[in-house]
Symmetry: C2
Subunit: 285 residues, 2 copies
Amino acid sequence: MSDGEFKCVTIVGVGLLGGSLGLAMKARTPSVRIFGVGRRRQALDEALACGAIDEAYLDAAEPAGRSDLVVLATPVCAFEQHLRTIAPVLADGAVVTDVGSTKDFVVRTAGGTLGKAGAFVGSHPMAGSEKKGVAHASADLFEGATCVITPIPETPPTTAERVENLWRSLGMRTLRMDPRDHDRAVAAVSHLPHAVSAVLATLPEQRYMEVAATGFRDMTRLAAGDPEMWRDILVTNREAVLEALDAMAGSLSRLRDLLDRSDAAGIERMLAEARDRREQSNAGQ
Amino acid sequence: MSDGEFKCVTIVGVGLLGGSLGLAMKARTPSVRIFGVGRRRQALDEALACGAIDEAYLDAAEPAGRSDLVVLATPVCAFEQHLRTIAPVLADGAVVTDVGSTKDFVVRTAGGTLGKAGAFVGSHPMAGSEKKGVAHASADLFEGATCVITPIPETPPTTAERVENLWRSLGMRTLRMDPRDHDRAVAAVSHLPHAVSAVLATLPEQRYMEVAATGFRDMTRLAAGDPEMWRDILVTNREAVLEALDAMAGSLSRLRDLLDRSDAAGIERMLAEARDRREQSNAGQ
């Protein structure tokens, strides 16, 4: 698979991720044509101005019909509508992927709407920030980060390879997972921490914020994320997040029991296990 | 109250906070004599070598009898033993304070053991890091941070002022709170976040750590803290931490209910409230 195999690319959603994808692909292969699709004229104009896209559209149908790659980069709950728009116009051999944070819902939605078997493979490039909008897009957003690809048994190997090579060409480390396994993993390491961060931010009485320090600031940083995007992530990963919330509630309840009976040794063991688990993981590095 | 009013200071516990206090006081008033008390000869030697203390002792009795200020800087659960050692030797007019993270337990322990009414006022300098030991001590650790002073009705105003002026002279912003109110505040903004961070670190299956990114790393940073120190903090702030754990469990359960019935609007409202609360607070700055 050669670099720059995609000549015409439609990116639906020109926010932080969609805009960065356009910039990164053009930085790598200046001849690629990027068609940006958005709801708001202003975001499209910004994307044109910064060079993230070459042409701007309010609807995906026209550019998608002329593209060999279509990437969905809107909030996940809007994917179905765009897939329905794209389905009838998609060229033979064209590939569709996405940048959504949940995969089972997305892969099932694509299977149900796209019609063309094997045109879709899910992607989750794990890059981004609390910042949103094309104004914060950058050509090296993906560099060095991990991208999970979620082919299913029905996915032709070449489709998965083409999408995998795309992310690799942008400097990402790729990793293949089953969509449901991906969802359980990100529920534990990303969606639950986000939910917990939001809950922590709402708990202290306002007058107690005077004594809040770096620990509180770090633990509520994720809560600054976009409520609409995170609503979609939690709702489309409902089962795995419910499981993760139950595991969290169970562990907090065990800690509560230890503290209730002043079991200092038990508390210390729990804290030591947490420290060791963190140090063994990548997170400790 | 003039600068450097304390001529001879005993610091019990020469770790990060005790060592930094010695360095900071000597940087401000080179003539002050700092007596360091520790259990381990090696830590005392390090403290002597870096200039955090002038003399080293394995027991507090002798230096405390010659001091006009005694500061407890060991883990909180060791305070009672040191207070019993200090009580019979403490000079008239000498002041005792501490750097512990919980205050009601400490203030009650001091009241019950020290005998001399009004010699003690609790302090909680909110400075530090996950690093421990005098090797990480620094003269400017306290600069710009907040210190809570917790006088009670029995505390003579001059005792509270002398301790408040000490922390101010080291560049801290001071704040007075009732000990129990302090404990509820730090339970919400510090102790609960720590407990939650530890629980989050233990939840993901090991194989899922491959997809852990900056969000997970930030949310489990506190879990790297010293288990022994945090055990003491949780145990000596039991009531307030239990209250905070119950509030957390209640909020997580409300989020679980919203997600269980796929109430997207309700979830978005909860996430938006969290973001707004964070932005309104100092934490958002």
